[in-house]
């Protein structure tokens, strides 16, 4: 009786672990897509609206899921802080440092958005658009990688969780 119960626990744990792993694999391409959309929005705000950066960041954050939106809002907040003499780049990188660990994104994206941050707000419209395009391109590449990875390993993780748990159960029984 007790053995069956333990085996069941191990199985459930294995399945959950597999699910969790495949979920976090699925989150990355999703967040990358969202980030891409937000940057497109930022592009519109800058290119057509000439909206000041803090407001533009706030509007772009609307469509984002919480961990990513937090980065945009945090950066906007830091820029509008009264008496601040920090540059946009500093505000942005500080916001990214703080908010990034909570997202499912990885190092290459981090590089891309930090690089984008270094150029935000310091040049004319055309230049800004170029930099945004570049960042979007980077993200698109990463997104296709991430989707591939998800397709490849998502199922593997799920089955691996079940099978691993079953193996442990079999060995222990």
């Amino acid at each position: 009786m007790l053995k069956t119960f333990g085996a069941l626990l191990i199985l459930i744990a294995g399945i959950l672990f597999g699910l969790f792993q495949s979920q976090s694999l699925a989150r990355r391409p999703k967040q990358l897509r969202q980030l891409g959309l937000a940057l497109k929005r930022l592009e519109t705000e800058i290119g057509y609206g000439a909206t000041p950066l803090p407001e533009a960041l706030k509007t772009s954050a609307v469509s984002l899921s919480p961990p990513l939106a937090a980065i945009f809002l945090d950066a906007a907040e830091r820029m509008t802080e009264p008496g601040t003499v920090r540059t946009a780049a500093e505000c942005w990188s500080a916001a990214v440092q703080r908010g990034f660990p909570r997202t499912a994104l990885k190092e290459p994206e981090r590089e891309a958005i930090l690089q984008l941050g270094a150029t935000l707000g310091i040049s004319d419209t055309q230049d800004q658009l170029k930099h945004l395009h570049l960042a979007l391109h980077h993200l698109a590449v990463e997104e296709s990688h991430a989707s591939d990875e998800e397709r490849q390993y998502g199922k593997i993780w799920k089955s691996l969780g079940v099978l691993g748990a079953a193996l442990v159960v079999v060995i222990m029984l």
Binding site: I46, A50, T51, P52, L53, P54, A56, M79, P82, G83, T84, V85, T87, A88, A89, C91, L120, G121, I122, S123, D124, T125, D127, Q128
Partner: protein, 328 residues
Amino acid sequence: MNDSIHDLLPPGIQAVLSKLPGEVVRTLEEIRIREGRPLEILYGSRHGFPDAFGRLSPFPEQAYIPSREECVRLLDVLTRHSLYSFEEELRRGYITVAGGHRIGLAGRAVLEGGKVKMLKDVTSFNIRYARQVKGCGGRVLPQLLDRDATTVHHTLVLSPPQQGKTTLVRDLVRLISEGTRELPGGRKVGVVDERSEIAACVRGVPTFDLGPRTDVLDGCPKAEGMMMMIRSMSPEVLVVDEIGTLQDAEAVWEAMNAGIRVIATAHGRDLEESGGRPALRKLLQEGIFRRFVQLTRQGERFDARVKELAGPRLRQARAPDELEVRRC
């Protein structure tokens, strides 16, 4: 230095300025920041180069030298982190910030079709303090009055830069709008403030006191703005700053013939010098301006000499002694 300018400056320069003697801070007129070259300040018609400890010297050897990083930071903060939304300002070469202070910029011009599109690599900043000196027009206004028509004469205010033209005009606007003993009830005043200097509007609302009957058209090209004002706001007195181009003169001429009294300013030492400029020559030759105010600065005060066209100098008006310097 507890004002809006101080908050914009990079920490290094902030530190230098906060160590300046109080007397200097009180009469501060310009802060000139040039990348890789000595920091300069102008105060009370004098100039000096402060070192890192805020000690002023007439020689630049020991002076504090703003770095590239500080200049980049300053521009970033001035443009509210959005250079792209300040392209128009960069094309004109200055930015007006809260409090009416104007920051002149110089760098490398980017051309498009032979015209300046914007400034790149901005390396020189001239931060000009704007101060409202209430009452400085009190002695001048009575001499500009057209007593028959109970309004003011067409007036041209002339002076070289930095002598207080805008300050005087600002106060005249306030006085005409509020009304004085000689001009009871005041008049409707329209201000076309192309450079946001007279009213220093922030989001369309003047930050200087221009009286209760004043409308301001902010950031609008003068020639177009004057016509818009005439058509839409029915001003009795129209005020414009720094007329210089032929279109400006044309619009002034138009307004004058529309029965509106015009007060305008122009750069120039005196009538002869201004008459040499094509735009003004026509206006002067037509003899429409009835009063000329010539300004010369003396320390913290200025001398305003009012002349009637082709007539003798009326009287030398001095700015009042109890001149109150109001910090903004």
